[in-house]
Symmetry: C2
């Protein structure tokens, strides 16, 4: 039976570290502050926002909410972002996306200052992830995968990591981060031939599944004694939350596996708070 | 016997295309112009510069040479780059690196405008490579690998590409570009276990070797009927130029292989000129 790689203890440890760092900042007169920018009342956004507000409070991070109508004009949103960029009291910004269709997503991402980009949406952050430098911040979810592996003592150096998915939000940054940890990385995706997918899945020491397809990854695409990080959050045929991995079938074969829910998803807000702290700390240096 | 994937016909075709595009620009009153920034008289720089000047002339691209003493102060160099950034008549810049030790390489790279960055040294260019967008330009050598594969009709979609090396100049950008072409990509490096290296080398359809070690890649790290792109330029024990691949031993097994010299290296200046043309064209749009 596999070790269950739950997210909660990972988030708890991160939060504990964040609290200590937030206190240090406050002792220096700096209140780490996150701006949340939301257009409209998307239920998914509201749910994530509630979690973030709770986590911020537990961490000692102030939150400024910028809530606008879904119909807000793009120019007005860009003005607001410019004002947030210029506001020294705000260290980091989370912008809920996807944005309404009348707004050019790229223009909004480009408008945000990379040093305040808490979730890897600016090209400055992407360059930082690619180059392994501290420019901007990686997407929280991709970094959460690394944090879970660290917490459970899975050293990636010299190990084979197979990343399933090549999105800019998870697959590509997770691949770069694993490579920076000296893993030998293979990236699979929708255009990978089935036999190659199966071979690279079976041959991996660590699998990071981020394809966004419910229970797509079963034992035919996995090996034995692997550590499996399941980033997917999908709804199965019974209306229940599930990952990209077929948990029931995969768990007996694995060395460790993250549950869905309760795995990667429960680490992201703690990671977001870590980024706010880091951004605040960088303003001191 | 393998097809010899020579660079010259690839460079010739590129140049032919570049000439046509340069003529179109000139018909619109724009003379595509490259600035070359060089400090000191490094023989390697001088040799590359001669090749670039010749290629620029053959292409119809003007070159402005900015040659400074090796002792030049960093502040002065940054001023020069700022002036080049501001000069509308200059479309692209090549800065010879490594720079003298008293100069902060990162500061110089950061100073250059990404839209004039002809060889992927700015973080804007790196973000563009990572995100697959047209921000800045990829490193010429990494893109030359793709151009050679294109020229010889090697379609990467759904194929297994093994990149040996994870440098920012070649390994990482080549991996991203192959992924954008729908290849299934594995990146090997100095910390990859030998048996994993051998397996991923043998299992690849296409190998891109960029480790910078003379003749390190032999048949024990390769398979059969592969296309091998050898980026290495090394000197062997007899003082002769050689690649990262043991050509004599690998060639009989391969479907196609680039020679060294006469392979990837002979495509880079043509690729540099393509970037100058692209930069000039982007100023029109």
């Amino acid at each position: 039976m596999a070790e269950l790689l739950k997210g909660k203890p990972v988030a708890d440890r991160l939060t504990e570290q964040n609290v200590a760092r937030a206190e240090k900042l406050k002792a220096n007169g700096i209140i780490p502050t996150l701006a949340i920018v939301r257009l409209g009342e998307n239920p998914g956004d509201l749910s994530y926002e509630r979690g973030a507000l709770k986590r911020a409070e537990a961490t000692g991070i102030a939150v400024k909410q910028f809530v606008f109508a879904e119909e807000m004009a793009q120019a007005e949103l860009l003005d607001q972002i410019a004002a947030i960029n210029a506001d020294d009291r705000i260290h980091g910004v989370l912008i809920f996306r996807p944005l309404p269709k009348h707004i050019d997503d790229q223009a909004v991402c480009d408008a945000l200052a990379p040093e305040k980009d808490m979730d890897g949406i600016t090209s400055g952050s992407m360059a930082g992830v690619f180059m392994g430098t501290e420019e901007g911040f990686p997407p929280c979810t991709a970094e959460a995968c690394m944090e879970i592996l660290d917490y459970y003592g899975v050293d990636l150096s010299g190990r084979k990591v197979t990343v399933m998915g090549r999105s800019l939000v998870i697959g590509k940054p997770a691949a770069m981060m694993a490579m920076d940890r000296n893993a030998t990385v293979t990236v699979l995706h929708s255009r990978t031939a089935l036999e190659d997918f199966q071979a690279a899945g079976a041959g991996a020491d660590v699998v990071i599944a981020a394809l966004g397809r419910a229970k797509m990854i079963g034992p035919d695409r996995l090996g034995r004694d692997q550590y499996i990080i399941d980033v997917g959050i999908n709804v199965d045929e019974d209306g229940k939350l599930c990952g990209d991995v077929d948990f029931e079938a995969a768990e007996p074969l694995a060395a460790g596996i993250t549950p869905v829910p309760g795995g990667v998803g429960s680490v992201t807000t703690a990671m977001l708070m870590k980024h706010v702290i880091q951004a605040a700390e960088r303003t001191v240096k």
